[in-house]
Amino acid sequence: MTTENSSRTSTVPETDSEEYSSVNPATDMIDCKLSRRDFVKTVGYFTGAGALGLQLISVETIVECAPLEFSASAHTVELTVNGLVHKLTMDTRVTLLDALREYLKLTGTKKGCDHGQCGACTVLVNGRRINSCLSLAVTHQGDQITTIEGLSGGEELHPLQTAFIEHDGFQCGYCTPGQICSAVALLEEARRGDASFVTPDLAHTGRVELTPEEIRERMSGNVCRCGAYPGIVQAVQTASRTL
């Protein structure tokens, strides 16, 4: 059958499932009276957005074709990264991660998933760890942003960087900058007394003891596909003793 869809957002062929399964492999072309586009549009009007979430995503793209109206706007922002102020005029769609990597050429911060699911892009904003892929660059005017490049003082490594090398808390190294930035914030969170899911006593105030279990839990937003987790835990524990 000949149908139509938008290429990037839909994962469903533009035909309803009955027609789809009834396709005869011998006569692979079938005329389709009601195109899927019309079909879901109709259904969409009557059912609302809930029940057919997946299909409606494609409907939105096809029916509204919103991008036609879209025009990117440029915006000027001053980003303070590792103590240096950079004045950038950028498309407002640029994420903080892409601003760092593609505009400022600070490629130490990594893109792993672009969806806030892997932690490779972790940076510190005003001392807190965030996934820079989930944040638009233009929202960071005035913020203090610290990336992996800003942790060491020249030749002198940050104690966490030294500990990651010593305990081999990485293999390929791609998740490492995110792991280390995450760990820097972790140490501060523990010092402050922030509880985690595994903290035994939530009434306790003051510094949290960083047991291996606490570290594992608090580092679980940073995926390491090489599986260097035991080394990461050792490195964070070692650094927590020296800082």
């Binding site: 938008s6 692979d28 769609r93 893109k111 190294g173 791609y174 987790y229 035991p230």
Partner: protein, 727 residues
């Protein structure tokens, strides 16, 4: 120097922890622009029409490549999707490429392309495809191999196990997505690519574009993980090169995470039937291992799950059979311990089932069927110390404290289980080349076109050269990942060290000899007129053995002799006759402790102990990480990883890292790994057999067996998720 074996920290560690290690998407060049892939949304059929008019008009767009307008490639092949025709073979297949000034512009424009498809009935039902499945081979080894009389022996067996074990589709998901930057200069193509096989990719790109291999250069200084998926050349790389040619600028393409679930390989789904016969005393009499695994409709790939059954135990009657089912999915490929990871899961769970049926300790059953020779060829092993692995690992784990009955061990409300499995991986080696260069500044360069993928090869290269030359590692630099260097094989199959270090040793020996020959011939040298045997080179000094004070610094010698570097290059081939004399495999024993929540079902792997026989360990620190990494993958195989395919559309529905579960830090407990560390010099002079993959083998079975011990439930379908345990 004596650096081999020492726990030396990675020489590239500082680059990695400071964010200075440069991965393939991180090279900047004038005019760099961005390409984004458009993928098919149907599993089979053809593109009936494509409307790219909006995309072409969108801001910043430089080009839209479609099947209609794309450059026709002289060497195009069906396995790649290079817009040469309008056929669609799987959902997620690249069908267009948008190039724009900025990444955001390319993304947006890609969303504006409208495609009409003519849909064919796809082949997506794995089991329904069994009747039309076909045989295949894996790296030239036949999928089918048998010895003895399996049917007869099974009929006469006292005890029989006959079960089906299944494993799902996995996607490699290295943290660094596939990435390439392609740039043409006339007929010369340079590609920065995250690749495990720069030489192989160079050859393929040259063929595709009809240019000389010498006109193509691949560069890859660091691979942000690969696990097999960056071994083959996939479509996005030639597509980036096509785009670069069209816009006449360097083009960068980085796959988005969802694009890692289709066009760049997978571990195929397997269906494994194991029929095992034994005597009442526990001696194996027959094993039949029948495997079905899927491939795509455009290329054969065989998941060789029954291969480990050919080598693991002494058994007089064995039959190993593989059948491939063609499906409208992206082509699967090598995934960490291809075949062996899935195969040892099935075989080692079947052994556990047999042990319970025999009322025998599962470790005892394995020792009872221990083999000193390769069971198929009867050849001796180049080295096998598996018995020591069992003994040492059992002791470290405390196996003797295990109570046999399922559900007999508890910790509070949690059920505790202990399981064991055997691990194995073949020892591979391929031809490799290397150069060692004495530089005018007195430093030494060691270089080969291999790949740093987390294996620690920068460090191992320097250790190898340091020991071969008697030079401090601090004086040595390593270079790799460039086809301008002497070529090395694909970084896969746990063979990098076994292949590359002999080439480095030979090159080092050559450059050392050359230096000493030049020195004794040089009238200005303090060693002039001595014979080469009477002089030596150590720690940067050339000297007479009998009067070491008569010495000269390497840098001074080179400066006086024209200031040119002195170089040794070697190409070294493995001994092909070795296979006629020996079988060569690594082995290991792995023990796991799990806790299972009897009410809610989640399993936690509390601790794993493994001991490996992998020949000589070249660096205790990096080796430990390789073993642990393999075990973490084994835990993912047992408990987490599962790509769900939509049965109608052939799309992977959990194509992201929130829904495709890989182990995170909190999933991993204590891991205790060690090695027997006895050199196996049959394979190479250093006696190393490779360690990248053995850790995943056996581990999933040890976990599955521990879960049975904890719960009394035998789950034969991976991953073992909570709902399967409380069902």
């Amino acid at each position: 120097m004596n650096t081999i074996g020492k726990p030396i920290s990675r020489v590239d560690g500082k680059l990695k922890v400071t964010g200075s290690a440069r991965y393939s998407a991180e090279f900047d060049m004038p005019g760099l622009c961005y390409a984004v892939l458009v993928q098919s949304t149907i599993p089979a059929g053809r593109i009936a029409g494509m409307d790219d008019s909006l995309a072409r008009k969108a801001a910043g767009v430089l080009a839209v490549l479609t099947p209609e307008n794309a450059q026709r490639l002289p060497g195009a092949e069906k396995r790649l999707s290079l817009l040469q025709d309008n056929q669609v073979y799987y959902n997620g297949q690249p069908v267009a490429v948008v190039v724009a000034e900025k990444l955001e512009e390319a993304h947006h424009a890609a969303s504006l392309i409208k495609i009409r498809y003519s849909v064919s009935a796809p082949k997506l039902d794995f089991v329904a495809g069994f009747p039309s499945s076909h045989p295949g081979n894996h790296n030239g080894e036949p999928g089918d191999m048998s010895w003895g009389d399996v049917d007869g022996a099974l009929k006469d067996s006292d005890i029989k196990i006959d079960q089906v074990y299944t494993t799902p589709i996995h996607h490699h998901n290295p943290m660094e997505p596939h990435a390439a930057i392609a740039q043409w200069n006339g007929d010369e193509l340079t590609v920065h690519e995250s690749a495990q096989d720069i030489s192989g990719h160079r050859a393929k790109l040259a063929k595709l574009f009809g240019v000389q291999e010498s006109n193509v250069r691949l560069i890859c200084l660091f691979v942000g993980g690969g696990f097999g998926c960056k071994g083959p050349l996939w479509s996005h790389v030639p597509l980036a090169a096509m785009a670069a040619r069209q816009v006449n600028r360097p083009v960068k393409i980085v796959l988005e995470r969802p694009q890692m679930f289709g066009p760049v390989g997978a571990r195929p789904r397997t269906h494994q039937r194991l029929t095992v016969g034994a005597t009442r005393e526990g001696k194996l009499t027959a094993i039949r291992h029948e495997v079905h695994a899927h491939t795509s409709v455009i290329e054969d790939y065989l998941e060789s799950s029954a291969f480990p059954t050919r080598v693991m135990y002494g058994c007089p009657n064995v039959s190993t059979i593989h059948r491939i089912v063609d499906l409208n999915l992206g082509t699967p490929t090598y995934t960490r311990a291809p075949g062996v990871a899935t195969g040892t899961y099935a075989l080692e769970v079947a052994m556990d089932e047999l042990a319970y049926k025999l009322n025998m300790d599962p470790l005892q059953l394995r020792l009872l069927n221990y083999t000193e020779n390769d069971p198929q060829t009867k050849l001796p092993f180049t080295g096998k110390h598996l018995r020591d692995c069992y003994t040492r690992a059992a002791e470290r784990f405390g196996w003797s404290n295990r109570t046999r009955e399922p559900r007999s061990m508890r910790d509070g409300s949690q059920l505790i289980g202990w399981g064991v499995a055997t691990e194995t991986y073949p020892a591979n080696r391929r031809p490799a080349s290397a150069l060692v260069r004495f530089k005018p500044d007195g430093r030494v360069l060691v270089a080969t076109g291999t790949h740093e993928i987390g294996n620690g090869i920068y460090t191992i290269m320097i250790q190898t050269a340091a020991d071969a030359l008697n030079v401090s590692p601090d004086l040595i630099d390593a270079q790799l990942g460039d086809t301008a260097l002497p070529p090395a094989p694909i970084t896969a199959g746990s063979m990098t060290v076994a292949s590359v270090t002999p080439a480095i040793q030979t090159a080092a020996e050559r450059v050392r000899t050359r230096l000493l020959q030049m020195a004794v011939a040089d009238s200005g040298s303090p060693v002039h007129d001595a014979s080469v045997d009477e002089v030596d080179f150590k720690d940067g000094l050339i000297f007479r053995k009998l009067s070491p004070n008569r010495s000269e610094k390497l840098g001074d010698f080179i400066a006086r002799n024209g200031g040119q570097p002195i170089e040794g290059i070697a190409h070294v081939e493995p001994d092909e006759t070795l296979k006629q004399k020996f079988a060569s495999h690594s082995f290991g024993a792995v023990f796991a402790e799990v806790s299972v929540d009897p009410d809610l079902g989640p399993t936690r792997v509390r601790r794993v102990t493994a001991v490996y026989d992998v020949g000589k360990v070249l660096n205790e620190k990096t080796a430990r990480s390789q073993f642990i990494g393999g075990i973490v993958w084994g835990i993912g195989l047992a408990l987490h990883e599962d790509s769900h395919m939509d049965a109608r559309t052939g799309r992977i529905v959990n194509e992201n890292l929130a829904d495709y579960h890989v182990p995170v830090n909190a999933d991993i407990g204590e891991i205790d790994v060690s090695a027997i560390d006895i050199a196996d010099t049959h394979l190479n002079p250093l006696g190393a057999r490779g360690i990248g993959e053995i850790g995943i083998t056996g581990t999933a079975a040890a976990v599955a067996n521990a879960i049975y011990h904890a719960t009394g439930k035998r789950i034969r379908d991976l991953p073992i998720t909570p709902q399967k345990l409380i069902a």
